[in-house]
Amino acid sequence: MSEMNATDRVGGTKPPTLQLSGLHKSFGTVEVLREIDLTVERGQMVFVLGRSGSGKSTMLRCCNRLEEPSAGSIFLEGQDICARGVDLDKIRRRIGMVFQSFNLYPHLDARRNVTLALRKVLKLGRDEADERATSALDRVGLANRADHYPGQLSGGQQQRVAIARAIALQPVVMLFDEPTSALDPELVGEVIAVMRELKDLHMTMLVVSHEMAFAREAADRVVFMADGRIVEDAPPEQFFTQPSEESTRAFLARYSA
């Protein structure tokens, strides 16, 4: 009961941070996303699970229109980002994205990876941009690596710089697409630690990841996708202990085995 009240308080006054409604996506004749409805409330961390090819990345990439939805709508704090005439670049600076392969700019050092958008998009002066970059890098524990180029950083450090690059723009929501899948097992922890810290700072996050233990411990909700649909959407306890769908159970059985 108290849980419901909390939800009401957050959701009641403000529109959800991110809301997908009736989202479809086809590549040619292949339907990859079908009738996706998903709401991410402010401050929530929502995990997305699903087999390879179930459409997780495509759904995430629709959220900042790296992929153009075929039908349906996406609302960012109540604003339809697919509406005609929206300034997509202005929308995107409010949505942080972290990629499986980091995608740091290899020709720029860590600091300038972070400052590029601060300078060119937010039009901050050099000093202010540097200051913000330093505090973002500090947040991910890499202020002392600001002068290093991506090639001089470990995978875990690169991903943390990528997170710093995104949070420096102070986005209202962060999208993570398998942020730890490309990492050696011993480097996964440091990235998860940073994400946990973001969660403590009430960052709104939509996370595609197979780190089950992390999902179970930190997620507000877990969503399971199969064949381009969301077939399960539940709090982690319920999701992992008594999922309602057979496909979810099969998936969990395979992963916990």
């Binding site: 900042n64 670049d89 600076r93 990629f99 392969s101 995608n103 590029l116 998009v121 690059r165 723009l169």
Partner: protein, 221 residues
């Protein structure tokens, strides 16, 4: 043997031809200064058009690049200088040379830069666009620096070709280095000015060529 040295390595003749060759070298430099930067610019535009989303931009550009890469530059030059006058357009030699070489080199630079653009992973522009950078900001600050760096040896190599190509301008009587040397030869009845010109080309280009070999060896490792 002495005869040979007198004919090809006559220092006295070389000294006399030197001022003329120096002026020729100036013209060669001027041609390079026009053709290399403008060719790079034309090549960049060609590369962007040939990788564009729009097929109406892509196809004609690819066709033009193919055309100007296949045509021998000398044929292009003669066409521009001696062919166009039949349409009533007589260009001064310098302009004719610059135009002919620009067509050729925009195509070559274009093909090189296109390869560079393609070599940059799509994730780079996706990351940039996801932070709100515009398409042109992404190109300028993220994609192009990496693209150009990836094909730098090819760009330098083609620029060496441009320097060599300028000697073709002698056929339209533009007084660049080779033409000047040949003039000096016909006046002195001695081949030494040609030798001197060859030496100048060698001194100019050999270090570049050497450096590139080392560079490419490093990349190969």
């Amino acid at each position: 043997m002495d005869q040979l040295i007198l004919q090809f390595f006559n220092v006295e003749v070389m000294a006399k031809a030197w001022p003329l060759l120096l002026r020729g070298l100036g013209m060669t430099a001027l041609l390079c200064l026009a053709v290399i930067p403008l060719g790079l610019l034309g090549g960049l535009l060609a590369a962007l058009a040939s990788t564009s989303q729009s097929r109406w931009l892509r196809w004609p550009t690819v066709a033009l690049i193919d055309l100007f890469r296949a045509l021998p530059p000398l044929v292009l030059l003669i066409f521009v200088y001696s062919g166009l006058p039949f349409t009533g357009l007589q260009l001064p030699p310098f302009l004719a040379v610059v135009i002919a070489f620009l067509l050729n080199n925009s195509a070559y630079y274009g093909e090189i830069i296109r390869a560079g653009l393609i070599s940059v992973p799509a994730g780079q522009s996706e990351a940039a666009r996801s932070t709100g950078l515009t398409q042109s900001q992404t190109l300028i600050h993220v994609v192009l620096p990496q693209a150009l760096r990836n094909v730098l040896p090819d760009l330098i190599s083609n620029s060496v070709e441009v320097v060599k190509m300028t000697s073709l301008a002698s056929v339209v009587s533009l007084a660049e280095l080779l033409y000047s040397a040949d003039m000096a030869r016909s006046v002195t009845y001695n081949a030494s000015p040609i030798t001197l010109a060859a030496l100048i080309y060698l001194i100019l280009l050999w270090p570049v060529v050497r450096l590139m070999s080392r560079f490419q060896r490093k990349i190969a490792i």
